[in-house]
């Protein structure tokens, strides 16, 4: 039970970003404490004080966590219980109550405090200027435009960089493996993925055997220009179909 409790503490710390010196949670907890004393309206106490406090206690309760995980068969999403706290709503309400009549100076102080204790979302490494209306990398769009059949579907082997995107542009493109291979903790195994991504140098004969005679024969293979291969694919029945940026598109002429 103690171990489960400690796990919940770690989840809480990771959620609140304490390890990266973010302290919005500290604002929330102080506001919650303030509301315990300052909020007199019974209904608001229920919604903004009692329910969040009990939720916090439940979050750290090992027995509750065991039941939650057992029912949902998923321990990775336990942190979502913290969504019920609605930290920003409760904090905004409590801070406004605390400001009283000092609205202007209060607003400036609160905004400064949030900016200092929080983290600017648009600084994220996952956010970049959109290259097109699909919000997908233009190279993925261009490759699919190049190989997409007029009718029917085609199986394409693409590097990990493109796995997330090609089917967001067209579902006529099928993949021999997908995103499931890229998440290490899901622990999937696929011989073609290992040959494509994990080998330092692609062993062309065995690689071609897998792309051609595997479960899902690949009509096209897309490789980065810099990807090392033991022998050129063109020696094994592939032709260069086109090139998009750093990606070379090969077509298997035997299929």
């Amino acid at each position: 039970m103690w171990g489960i409790f400690l796990e919940s503490v770690v989840i809480f710390k990771n959620y609140m970003g304490f390890h990266e010196k973010h302290f919005l949670a500290a604002i929330y907890l102080l506001v919650l404490l303030y509301l315990w004393f300052a909020e007199k309206d019974k209904c608001r106490r229920t919604v903004f004080v009692y329910a969040p406090t009990l939720l916090l206690l439940l979050f750290f309760c090992p027995l509750f966590r065991k039941v939650f995980v057992r029912v949902l068969e998923d321990s990775e999403t336990y942190y979502r219980l913290l969504w019920l706290l609605q930290m920003s709503l409760v904090s905004a309400y409590g801070l406004l109550k605390l400001m009283g009549r000092h609205r202007r100076i209060g607003l400036a102080a609160v905004c400064l405090m949030i900016a200092v204790c929080g983290d600017y979302v648009y600084d994220s490494e996952h956010i970049s200027r959109a290259e097109n209306a699909y919000h997908l990398p233009q190279e993925a769009v261009d490759i699919v435009d190049l190989i997409e059949p007029e009718k029917g579907r085609v199986t394409v082997l693409v590097p990990a960089d493109l796995v997330y995107y090609v089917r967001q542009y067209s579902t006529d493109i099928e993949l021999p493996y997908g995103r499931e291979m890229l998440i290490a903790r899901w622990d999937y195994h696929n011989a073609l993925y290992e040959a494509m991504e994990e080998a330092e140098v692609i062993d062309t004969p065995s690689f071609v055997e897998l792309t051609r005679n595997g479960s899902f024969p690949c009509t096209y293979v897309v490789l980065k220009e810099s990807r090392e291969v033991s022998e050129p694919l063109t020696d094994y029945g592939f032709s260069i179909y086109g090139q998009v940026g750093e990606f070379v598109v090969y077509r298997d002429t035997t299929l």
């Binding site: 019974k42 229920t46 998923d74 969504w83 609605q86 406004l96 979302v121 956010i127 579902t171």
Partner: protein, 398 residues
Amino acid sequence: MRCVLDIINFIFWLLAVPFCIGMIPASFIPPAKRSPGFLLLAGYFGMWALFEVAAVPAVLWVKYDNFKAASAAFTVLSLLAAAAGLCLLYRHHRAGGPGLVCRERFWEKLSPVEWVEWILFFALLGFQLYKAAAYASFDGDDAYYVVESLIAQESDVMYRILPYTGRPTDLDVRHALAVFPMWAAFVSVRAGVHATIVSHVVMPLVMIPLTYLLYFEIGRLLFGGLAQKEGDCDGAVGIWGRAGRESGSVFHRENLPIFMIIMAMFQIFGNVSIYTNETFFLTRTWQGKAVAGSLVIPALLWVFLLLCGEENEKNDDGVIKKRTAGGIWMLFVFVHMTAGVCSSIAVFLTCILTALTAFFLAVVKRDVKIILKMGAACVPSVIYMGIYVVVAYSYLLK
């Protein structure tokens, strides 16, 4: 010309239909609580509840072209509901009632300082919308959710094809009951726009303002002085009463723009980890779980506050007409059903929050009936969880 038609379709399905559906719950609440914001939000939750009714049976029991079946059923249901809303509006008008959309004298009475504060808030909102439209946010889960929408749009199939590869697959109940990507696909089909563009561009431009509209409505309840009385639409002015400021209380409307600015700041700087609902709100706005965290759960708090208002009225004025609260209970059910549309886990979360709040409300108000009423409103969620468990563990029965 095509672009104009797309915009008209978007306006029809994302504004007109939910607005009309919202008139149904609005006709069963006190006139003072009616507002365009209430109508649109209640309409959206009503529309999503209808989508759940149309799509979940199709997912479970229709094998081929199940998206086509769900779309047809939802089109009929939503248009009937919108027509019913319009009929109620007409009936109120003919009966000389106050109408379902109360005009509020809000902008007329703003002080210069409030104007500046509102402009500041709208600048923050505009900044978030600009970032949502002009910047791409990578999230690995899109390889599942966005592709599911696109498969539905291109192949008329829901949850029978593995989005990662394109191969046929068994029903994955955890994802299949949360049909939010199918609603995005429905909008895409009706507007004739690629589902990925709808997910990545149109959805944020709709969901971000809608979420702030909800915060506005919550702020209105918190800082409007709670002067909600029975009466005609002019009673709505009471919501914006300045009595609070005169008495030194913080509960006056001048705090509303400040509340909105603080909420916007929390969203923009809420990225303290990848797990917070604020991060989900601005980086994966189009995913059902983000909608659950930023719209559905706060909506539940909004409904609790609305119900508290009802109780306050009862205490002050004695007996009130039972039907006045009916619309709020209707909204309560819609919100619970929307949780199921967004995410299976959200159903469990909203039930937990409802149970806790019902328990405390029953204690502080010394009224056990609250637990029974809120429990009854959770019945659709219980049915949802029942289906989830039966489908998830059906292999044990074979």
